[in-house]
Symmetry: C2
Subunit: 470 residues, 2 copies
């Protein structure tokens, strides 16, 4: 079956018309149906086509989300949660129309508990807003997917990013969620204890469910003390394989590296041009260490020694905040820097993740495939986790090139799966990777489907995402 | 409704008779129905009454587990997974009879991947057996619930223990499971990548499901490098509150403490008598630090300074393995040491977990309740996580005393829930805490039930545990 068929959702015209009327009446100005606003609330990132919802609701409380879901449940109308719209796999699209629920007005920090290293926030709080809010407490929330995403969206897609190698992903850092389920009931999945063995782990079931089981309306998150000291730097390597081997040795040694990012030669060229950094155009590791003053120096020295064993170096590192900031700004600008490699092109981002022992091989095969196909596609990676991104730069006017890029991505996803990895380390399945989930998890997908049908029998919660129901 | 009614499961006599006949024929000597062996495979720890299964199967492969489950599914007969039988809440009981599936002959380490810091094991491998097996690789598996439990049982109950404050619980350390589901199909919930956003987190759904959704027949677990150095020691405090405040400060400072265990005054008296340790009979913290030679010294010094601020000390610590081993042996012998406080008594162990900011208050109220009721009940706790155990020593011949102890435990569970905590940090709900889950999680329990009914419509997988289905 073609992907377009797999993700198809029938429109329920009568139900949609009824829901539009009721929601307009109930929410007034906080329910919008203008074309621009509807299109902005569908998929706008990367190249997956935009499928606009029929209306956009702007609730301000869990109770209002419940009311919206109840109306949609009664009329069997799709409900699609929306945060900052920075997801990459079409998660916010409305293939069968329906109501986009924009959660950005649920933006309160409900509680900060410094002694417990946790906080409770609404889903529209962004990670940067949270970190600004809590700065005075000496605490921070580490998960950093790059974009200044909403925390609700990050939970829904099980986001991670550069710090995950040390601090984990949203999976490890959400203690509890309050979610509005398909029948309109709101549940809170856990209390605020750091660990629990009380029943099924509904928190982890909702984290990563991409809005298909419920709409998260608040979350309790773990926080961490801002490290006393941070050191960081960049280390060039002769080959990607050498760099990967240095990563493996670093982690095996138990060095608690906070970030360890691979940038391949092509991406380094783009960074040099864009960020004016003086580094060789060879694969580099960007690393950062968190700890005590003595600890971060020790970690950096140990890493430098390991790097040298694998032909890497010179490893220049610093504890000076401004210098570190410049490096990481460059790393975070990778997406924009890449655009300079092919002005006017649109980027298609991938996110496979493999066991780290297979990482060098996976990247090498992928680089060879890029060369063979004549694509322009730099690579950056959260290599401490075995996770890397290829950004395929495509001319969107050229259908043949898009098809070729999709072929490349399909091969990349299957390569990762073949190496006992996943087609998605952090972006989620959405629409874009729907064709790969069964290759990856086999009959497990049947059991996901059974859960979906049990919890959302009318299939109104973000339908057409993750797996086909038929 | 009384607990005895909540956990009741009707016996299906005809189905059980049919399954017994078929399984005897298929498995031969590896299917046993003698009374002793049946009773050994029901609940034997603490005071919950023994409810024996009708037969015990000893499969040696996933396929054999599938065959057993298929027979039981066809005849609608309960299937109860069994490991070392060290669970504490009646998880292995067979309230409606049925077949105990003893998984201890699935005891192979299937793969160790040192570069990936993971391994794949069958459920009958115990944590000590795994650590012995992998010692030469320089790696270890940190989760330590005290008992030398089977890893399958630890996953099924979401176990944790003394190291969880640094290394997390089974929730964080199981990368994937293979499980035989109620229809006899075997699924593998994830591949070997360190992180994934591919679909619903079935791994976390099965971890902690106490055998009610599927039988785990293999698991991929995270491993860690054996620390280069370990330091540890014991620090007395004037009061439990002072000790708890020192714990909070230690964690807020970002000191990556590997273990931080509270032992209250009564338990210290028992330890002194049993283990011949020279410590005052006041609340103590047992602590351990993992890291580099310099790092563990720095951590211990920093902790000592914090302890002093809260009136604690002297903090005597050591890097000498033999001295540390003696301390931790004493801590691990707490259960046996407690018995000396009341020879002949049976211990009822609790495991509430609260936000750490409420820990001192929760323990103080609990100690006052113990005194008021005239119970003998020492306390130890994984206080870095806000988790503590009260061991109520009961005369099993005295029904009134048992009732009084149950009253005390009910109040303790509700106290923890009232402080935004959980009635079970690590033992699970089983039968023993079934009456508290709804108080803790409200309507979330309905959604757990919906998942249970969807995945096990005949209710054959460890029925009568976690929540009532009716």
């Amino acid at each position: 079956m073609a992907l377009s068929d797999l993700i198809k959702v029938e429109r329920n015209e009568a139900g949609i018309a009824a829901a539009l009327g009721i929601l307009k009446q109930r929410l007034g100005d906080r329910f919008q149906t203008g074309q621009d606003i509807r299109r902005q609330h569908a998929h706008t990132t990367t190249y997956i086509p935009n499928q606009a919802p029929d209306g956009v609701a702007f609730p301000r409380s869990t109770e209002e989300v419940q009311e919206i879901v109840r109306v949609c449940a009664e009329h069997r109308v799709p409900v699609i949660p929306f945060g900052t719209g920075t997801s990459l796999e079409g998660q916010t699209n409305a293939p069968g129309g329906g109501i986009s629920v924009d959660l950005m007005q649920l933006d309160r920090v409900l509680a900060v508990n410094p002694e417990d290293l946790d906080c409770t926030v609404e889903p529209g709080v962004t990670r940067e807003a949270l970190n600004t809010y809590i700065r005075d407490t000496g605490l921070f929330f580490p998960i950093d997917p790059g974009a200044n995403a909403s925390l609700g969206g990050m939970a829904a897609t099980r986001a991670s990013g550069t710090n995950a190698v040390r601090y984990g992903t949203m999976r490890e850092n959400v203690l509890a969620v309050t979610a509005v389920m398909a029948d309109g009931r709101a549940i809170t999945t856990a209390r605020r204890a750091k660990k629990t063995s009380a029943g099924y782990d509904l928190t982890r079931l909702l984290v990563g469910s991409e809005g298909t089981l419920g709409i998260i309306t608040s979350m309790t998150l773990k926080l961490y003390g801002i490290p006393q000291a941070i050191s960081g730097g960049v280390c060039p390597f002769p080959t990607v394989e050498d760099a990967c081997n240095a990563v493996i040795a670093t982690i095996q040694m138990g060095i608690p590296v906070a970030r360890i990012e691979l940038v391949n030669a092509l991406q380094m060229r783009a960074l040099k041009n864009y960020s004016k950094l003086e580094y060789p155009e060879s694969p580099c590791l960007f690393v950062e260490f968190h700890g005590s003053e003595a600890g971060v120096a020790e970690q950096a020295e140990s890493f430098g020694e390991i790097a040298a064993e694998f032909g890497g170096g010179p490893f220049l590192w610093t504890k000076v905040a401004e210098e570190r900031a410049k490096l990481w700004k460059a790393r975070h600008d990778a997406y924009w820097a890449s655009q300079t490699l092919r002005p006017g092109a649109k980027g298609l981002s991938t996110d496979v993740c493999v066991p780290i022992s297979r990482l060098a091989e996976c990247i090498a095969e992928t680089e060879a495939d890029i060369a063979r196909m004549g694509l322009i596609a730099p690579i950056v990676g959260h290599v401490g986790d075995g996770n890397f991104h290829v950004l395929v730069l495509m001319d969107m006017e050229n259908a043949q090139e898009i098809a070729k890029s999709e072929e490349f991505v399909a091969r990349l996803n299957m390569r990762a799966i073949g190496m006992n990895g996943t087609c998605t380390g952090e972006h989620g399945i959405g629409q874009g990777k729907l064709a790969f989930l069964e290759s990856e998890l086999g009959e497990s997908v049947d059991f996901m489907r059974m859960i979906k049908v049990a919890l959302d029998p009318q299939n109104i919660m973000n339908p057409g995402k993750i797996f086909p129901l038929a």
